[in-house]
């Protein structure tokens, strides 16, 4: 299986798309994770508003971390007021720790109808992700889906 977004030209398009989401949704961080083509692990491929490059090295197992959970369940996930009110330990949320996020909303991105990626928007300040921003993130995920599916 091949994601078009991972091809050299496609990655520029996806980068731009992440920047656009960051500007339109007025959030602090936007990240796009994709399941590896040669295994179940999930990696963060693109980011905008990132405070460091740690996301590039983070790989989570299918079903683990926000990205792994969203892909395995195929459902959006909202993390509010991290690290309070979370299920499990803070260490199970590597992208929140790496980017110092307090609130995050992650939606699945489908590839040929199967959840294979995650679009995450997050805030570092005390600003929760409002319902309207959550809907906008879903919309943005659909747009990205189209780009990835070519």
């Amino acid at each position: 299986m091949e994601y078009k977004g991972c091809s050299p030209g496609g990655s520029v398009r996806i980068d731009q798309a992440c920047e656009k989401v960051l500007a339109e949704l007025e959030c602090d961080f936007v990240g796009l994770a994709l399941q590896n083509t040669d295994g179940p692990d999930v990696k963060w491929h693109y980011a905008a508003g990132n405070s460091n490059e740690k996301y590039k090295r983070i790989t989570v197992r299918y079903g683990k971390g926000i990205a792994g959970k969203v892909i395995s369940t195929g459902r959006p996930m909202y993390v509010d007021n991290f690290p309070d009110n979370i299920a499990g330990k803070a260490l199970e949320y590597p992208i929140m720790l790496a980017e110092g996020l307090k609130h995050a909303y992650a939606v699945p991105i489908h590839f040929k109808g199967i959840p294979k990626g995650v679009l995450l928007i997050g805030n570092r300040s005390g600003q929760p992700v409002s319902e309207s921003r959550q809907s906008a993130a879903k919309e943005a995920a659909r747009t990205l889906e189209k780009k990835l599916n070519g």
């Binding site: 460091n52 490059e53 740690k54 996301y55 983070i58 260490l91």
Partner: protein, 216 residues
């Protein structure tokens, strides 16, 4: 007559029981559940070859694949709980393998240095040293806000010194000692094996954790 057991003995007993239990669960997952699943997996592969209906064949193949993933998950979980390298190969290989997992999970690069030759130490001490390093690294991932860290091991005659350093944001050690049990537990764990754990940190400059263990 002394009827009250010493506090040190109680802490030691609790920590030891917890470690024994973690090891038991890890072993049970690996040797028990993992092995049983593997037998089922090979059985399924056999059934797959014996079945003629293509739809049924596909269904069994999917189930076998799912089982293979589950076996892998169980193995990884067992390794995460109690690294087998700690019992078989020693502290340094166990740390190296943990650091790989650590970097790929948190994106933090850890530079490992080893000076001198690793000597055999008791399993209880190996586990304690490993857990203290694990806690120190977990704290870096949680609080330090840094891209890199360093860990150096020095094996000297009569003493093992481990230093874990980061140039992250640092913290007030006294305040953290009062509010978080994690740091106090690191020190307590080291005391129980007659070792020492000294934590120094400066806000804005980073943290250094020095662990020493006498070797006999």
């Amino acid at each position: 007559m002394e009827t009250q057991p010493a506090k040190k003995n109680i802490s030691s007993y609790i920590i030891q029981s917890q470690e024994d239990e973690i090891k038991r669960i890890a072993l049970e997952l690996h040797e028990g559940v993992g092995q049983t699943l593997y037998s089922l997996f090979t059985g399924m592969q056999f059934i797959q070859t014996a079945v003629d209906q293509p739809e049924m064949k596909d269904y069994i193949r999917d189930m076998a694949q799912m089982m293979e993933k589950t076996i892998q998950e169980i193995r990884l979980l067992a390794v995460e709980l109690h690294p087998p390298a700690l019992g078989t190969l020693g502290l340094l290989p166990a740390l190296k393998s943990y650091l790989k997992l650590y970097t790929s999970t948190y994106g933090i690069i850890v530079d490992l240095e080893n000076e001198g030759k690793e000597v055999q130490i008791r399993e209880r001490e190996r586990i304690t040293l490993f857990r203290v390093c694990q806690e120190a690294l977990a704290n870096i991932a949680r609080y330090a806000d840094t891209m890199s860290a360093g860990i150096s091991l020095r094996w000297e005659p009569g003493q093992l010194s481990i230093m874990i350093k980061d140039k992250g944001k640092g913290f007030d050690v006294d305040a953290a000692m009062k509010s978080s049990a994690g740091i106090a537990a690191m020190m307590e764990r080291m005391l129980l094996i007659n070792g020492k754990c000294v934590i120094s940190s400066k806000i804005g400059e980073g943290t250094s954790i020095d662990i020493t263990l006498p070797l006999y």
